[in-house]
């Protein structure tokens, strides 16, 4: 498939049309969606209308914007006005949001063409899409394997070339881990860089929307469009979008790269080999490698599985059968609330709601939630210290290549461990990118992770570009 960068360039120049690009995308979806279960909803009518507007603007001599005519897939936890949005849950079946997320308004403002909503773990709680109420997505690289999660549908849309770009959300690794497992680029931006307005909340202090793409340049292009302050999200950072494309070829010469022991320990041998090769590629490009230890990373999983469920238990209290989605009738309102939630939520969501309710309950708050928030402070300080000795960090994205369906569903803790290398960044609020680098068991893709201090996206994209060139995917 043509890159998003090339499509936008050609649409702006009038050598192709948004309508033609959309039909290519819709044909790929029709050909593959039944097998892979990538899209929960394809908005053909809305997409055709958006493409037509772009083509009319080009015809009138206007510039439709940086993403002119580029088809894009949206994770189904992003609200798009009038388009069915379920967050992978039965409790929101049939709901059509009365407003659009800020990121969607920005996409439309830049000429992008949203084609539909992608499958995901229910309320983004999972690492394989197996908790979706609508069945799992299959990995385009090997349909017997999971695509990763929770944004597995968005990763699969790009990896299967159904759309050149997609958006996901990353609370503990939900963009980077599926990007690694599907062999594409995935970015978790600095917390607050991208507005969360219209993102169905899971754990608000950790959630961040970010791009998937088949190459680093396309990912940077998309992030430039969606980033920047939004008054509708009070946690959004005050500054405008950073300049990323201008720094894409800055390279890594003279940079100090921290290879973090805790971000590779326990990874499979094929993953370790890719990290080692990435280290060599960065050295070849003029970077210096510093071996580092950030022991606080080992506490990340525990802190995350207290903080995220605690926030989720509060955020998901709104699904009570009153204002939207499912209602299961009962004699009085309290019984209706309980019947609705019992029927509407799947097992993983119930597990996390209960874990969070417990961690926040009287007598346990200090031991669990309060303690986890302090560990978060320590994590932030530990990364800050690491960035005294290193400009950015290198590690693995996931401990293994894509795993088989059912392999980790019986024991939730083994599933949670798939995010052990990605969670620390969310707790620290910092940005990180997963870049495909080499392959592992069964020829499946491996992702390596680049991490930087808050607001250092430009530097991370430049380093990711170096790895991409070395990997032969220029």
């Amino acid at each position: 498939m043509t890159s998003a960068t090339q499509i936008a360039r050609d649409v702006r120049a009038g050598t192709t049309s948004a309508a033609a690009q959309l039909e290519t995308s819709l044909a790929a979806i029709r050909a593959g969606n039944e097998e892979l279960n990538v899209f929960l909803h394809v908005d053909e009518e809305g997409a055709r209308a958006a493409a037509k507007r772009v083509d009319e603007r080009v015809g009138a001599g206007d510039d439709p914007g940086a993403l002119a005519g580029v088809p894009i897939a949206l994770k189904d936890n992003l609200c798009q006005r009038g388009v069915p949005t379920t967050a992978g849950s039965k409790i929101l079946a049939g709901w059509r949001p009365p407003y659009s997320a800020t990121v969607i308004d920005r996409l439309l403002g830049a000429g992008a063409v949203p084609v539909g909503k992608t499958n995901m773990d229910e309320f983004a709680m999972g690492s394989s899409t197996e908790t979706s109420a609508y069945g799992p997505t299959r990995n385009p690289r090997n349909p017997e394997r999971v695509p990763g999660g929770s944004s597995g549908g968005s990763a699969a849309a790009v990896a299967s070339l159904m759309t050149p770009l997609s958006l996901g959300s990353d609370t503990g690794g939900s963009i980077r881990q599926p990007a690694a497992l599907c062999g594409i680029v995935g970015v978790k931006p600095t917390y607050g860089l991208v507005s969360r307005y219209g993102l169905i909340a899971f754990a608000s202090s950790l959630d961040q929307i970010g791009p998937f793409a088949n190459n680093v340049e396309d990912a940077a292009l998309l992030l430039e469009v969606i980033a920047g302050h939004d008054p509708m999200d009070s946690t959004s950072l005050p500054e405008p979008a950073p300049s990323l494309l201008a720094h894409l070829d800055d390279g890594v010469a003279g940079k100090r790269v921290g290879l973090v022991r805790e971000l590779i320990e326990g990874a499979d041998d094929d993953v370790l080999a890719s990290v080692e090769a990435a280290r060599a590629a960065l050295e070849d490009a003029g970077a210096t490698i510093v071996e580092l230890s950030i022991p606080e990373c080992r506490l990340g999983l525990s802190a995350y599985y207290l903080i995220a469920p605690a926030e989720a238990s509060s955020n998901l209290a709104r699904y009570d059968g009153v204002r939207y989605g499912l209602r299961v009738d009962a004699d009085d309102v309290a019984a209706m609330n309980e019947a609705t939630r019992t029927a509407g939520f799947g097992a993983e969501v119930k597990r996390r709601i209960m874990l969070g309710t417990y961690a926040l309950s009287a007598g346990y708050y200090d031991a669990y939630y309060g303690q986890a928030l302090k560990v978060r402070t320590q994590m932030i300080e530990a990364f800050r210290r690491a960035y005294v000795d290193a400009d950015f960090l290198l590690g693995a994205t996931a401990p293994s290549v894509a795993f088989a369906f059912g392999e980790k569903t019986a024991n939730p803790l083994t599933m949670y461990l798939s995010d052990v290398f990605t969670i620390p960044t969310n707790l620290a609020g910092d940005p990180a990118i997963s870049v495909p680098f080499g392959s592992g068991a069964g020829g499946l893709p491996v992702g390596v992770q680049l991490l930087g201090p808050g607001r250092s996206e430009a530097q991370l994209f430049a380093a990711a570009r170096v790895l991409e060139m070395a990997n032969g995917v220029a």
């Binding site: 709901w95 949001p97 009365p98 917390y191 607050g192 202090s205 946690t235 950072l237 080992r298 506490l299 999983l301 525990s302 802190a303 599985y305 207290l306 238990s313 009153v322 204002r323 989605g325 499912l326 009962a330 004699d331 009085d332 309102v333 309290a334 019984a335 209706m336 609330n337 309980e338 939630r341 019992t342 119930k350 597990r351 709601i353 209960m354 874990l355 309710t357 417990y358 309950s361 007598g363 346990y364 031991a367 669990y368 309060g370 303690q371 986890a372 928030l373 302090k374 560990v375 978060r376 402070t377 320590q378 024991n411 939730p412 803790l413 949670y416 707790l427 620290a428 609020g429 910092d430």
Partner: protein, 100 residues
């Protein structure tokens, strides 16, 4: 150190979270949640006296804006998506019991 999670704790938490659990689910969830809390013993055991808690990683606090008039969501569009609505409002089953 918090005591081990018991079946009755899970039942209580489920009631607080407005979830009905079957007897089998109670057993499964008690077992699974215990494993997660067991893993969390590593941070429960830390001495973090004097460490501040973090809510926003970059310390944004008390974000304010001008109090200006702006359009809100279209009421009809919102209510059209509700399970039940009546006279421009969300409708729910009765909240109070019958008069004695």
């Amino acid at each position: 150190m918090a005591p081990a999670l018991r079946r009755e704790d899970v039942a209580k938490v489920a009631a607080l979270a407005r979830l009905t659990l079957s007897e089998d689910e109670l057993d499964t969830f008690t077992d699974q949640l215990s494993q997660v809390l067991e893993h969390a013993k590593d941070i429960e055991a830390l001495d973090l006296e004097g460490v501040a808690a973090t809510a926003h990683p970059f310390g944004l606090v008390n974000v304010v804006r001008e109090d200006v008039l702006r359009p809100s969501l279209a009421r009809d569009e919102v209510l059209a998506m509700a399970p039940d609505a009546e006279d421009g409002r969300f409708a729910v089953p009765r909240i109070m019991g019958e008069a004695p």
